[in-house]
């Protein structure tokens, strides 16, 4: 395996620190730079940037406006790959929108939809497409395939890359009461290009842990170290925290601990 790029998300409120700081190999971009962001020119000049925006949900084909937006951002960032999520979070008619990542039903029909629409998007991009797994808090009876099997078939059909979000896998394992390493083993790890790692925190509504813009625990870093050994094509690990509440100290310390764990 080539040496891994270790990075974080670009948090605009930490722009000054990210321009000056060391130890960050790349920055993932969740939002386009704000027009008045004073740090953006230096950030763009200094860092490798990864496009990780919301482009659209691939249960439907992306429209021309969304494809053009993706192409424009990819060019602006000079991104080595373009990321999107396995998500279906708003209804076809636009009436209901969860405003939060939510997985599709793992069925043959949704597999065919995602394969078709991801293939169409991939053909319109000048960079490889990678797709990120999304955690489910509950199973839906209508799903026909286990998520890892559905993902394997998707990646085999599209030959896109896999952005493996480890806390998402860890949470699913937690709520299924299985060991994270065991649940992870079923995923198509040979397709992984990038890994996300972060902390989890107790959520009052869920009555258990969930994704949070927090530092990864030692347990999560151990899980990362294990996962990386199973991902021979992995090129990058990103500290997945994007929030105005995130401090520069937490971001730099997390990246440093990730580097140390690998």
């Amino acid at each position: 395996m080539a040496s891994l790029s270790i990075g974080a998300f670009y948090n605009p409120h930490l722009g000054a620190e990210l321009v000056r700081g060391d130890g960050i190999d790349h920055l993932a971009m969740a939002d386009p730079p704000a027009p008045g962001d004073p740090h953006w020119p230096a950030i763009r000049a200094r860092h490798t940037l990864l496009l990780h925006d919301y482009l659209g949900q691939l249960s439907e084909p992306l429209d021309e406006r969304s494809i053009e937006r993706a192409r424009t951002l990819a060019e602006l960032y000079r991104t080595p790959w373009v990321a999107e999520h396995f998500q279906c979070l708003h209804t076809v008619d636009g009436t209901y929108n969860l405003n939060y990542v939510f997985p599709p039903l793992y069925t043959e029909d949704f597999l065919e939809r995602f394969v078709r629409n991801a293939t169409a998007l991939k053909a319109r991009l000048d960079q490889p497409l990678v797709m990120e797994n999304i955690p489910g808090f509950f199973d839906v009876q209508a799903s026909q395939l286990p998520e890892p099997v559905w993902l394997r078939r998707f990646f085999d059909a599209t030959e896109t890359g896999f952005l493996l979000d480890l806390p998402h896998v860890w949470l699913e394992a937690h709520y299924r009461a299985v060991k994270p390493e065991r649940w992870l083993a079923g995923f198509p790890l040979d397709r992984v290009v990038e890994l996300h790692v972060a902390g989890v925190e107790e959520d009052r509504d869920l009555g258990g842990p969930w994704i949070a813009p927090a530092e990864p625990s030692d347990e999560m870093l151990g899980f990362l170290a294990h996962a990386v050994t199973q991902c021979p094509q992995a090129k990058a690990v990103t500290f997945d925290a994007f929030s105005p509440s995130l401090t520069a100290e937490a971001l730099f310390r997390s990246v440093e601990r990730i580097r140390a764990a690998l």
Partner: protein, 258 residues
Amino acid sequence: MSDRALQDDVIRALADAPYRESAAWRARRLADPDRVERFARFLARHFYYERVVHFFKYSRALARVTGRGPEAVLTRPGFEALVPTIVLGSRQTAQAVAQLVVTHVGGAGPVIPYLADLLRYEAAMMVVEAGPRIWRDGPERKDEGVGSAEWSAPEKVEGTVLLELAYDLPLVLPQLLRPWSDVPQAPARSTTLLVARSPHGRVAVARSTAAVAALLRLADGRKTLAQLALDAGLEVRELEQTLHGLVELGAVRFSTGS
């Protein structure tokens, strides 16, 4: 039912609390009801946290003077009481959540002269943003420009708001988000603002004029451009320019002239 329709049903159950309680949803037995309820509550708090922080960012910047952060309402009993009625993204729920913030932050008392105006402005932004939106364009999307022969009857878009304020807020808003030691002051000057949303969900604010106010009052989807110009007392050229701006903002759309 198709898989896509089933997915929509799950999304609706998570977004729409009354539907989640309905016999129709419960009879489907698609998922563990306790897990669905917990996740729906989590989503509701997340959904309105993002909106309150975004739309009430100026009040948030004033929290060190008012002592009241807008997002605090999301963990208070008023929000808990709303949960059984919440429909994510609906105008009604946006109104109810915004009112919680207005009551909470407004309760700080007369510490800032323009606070009541500011809260009305921020609440209007949040409510205007609510409602169904277009997530993807169809391939047949038509030009809806002014002057197009088949689009000739302008109509005010539902939810568009004209705000009559006692203070000139646009002058003070940018200052509130920059570092300050003394609270930035807004000039006491009667100001009318137009708040509108594009079909794709982009909220825009513009200063309103007498012509804009007249057009929004008269644009009912039936009057032609010529009738509107006559009723509003505007030259056709001025009318077209004003309408063009209103269409760009999302405040006016065109009904088919047939």
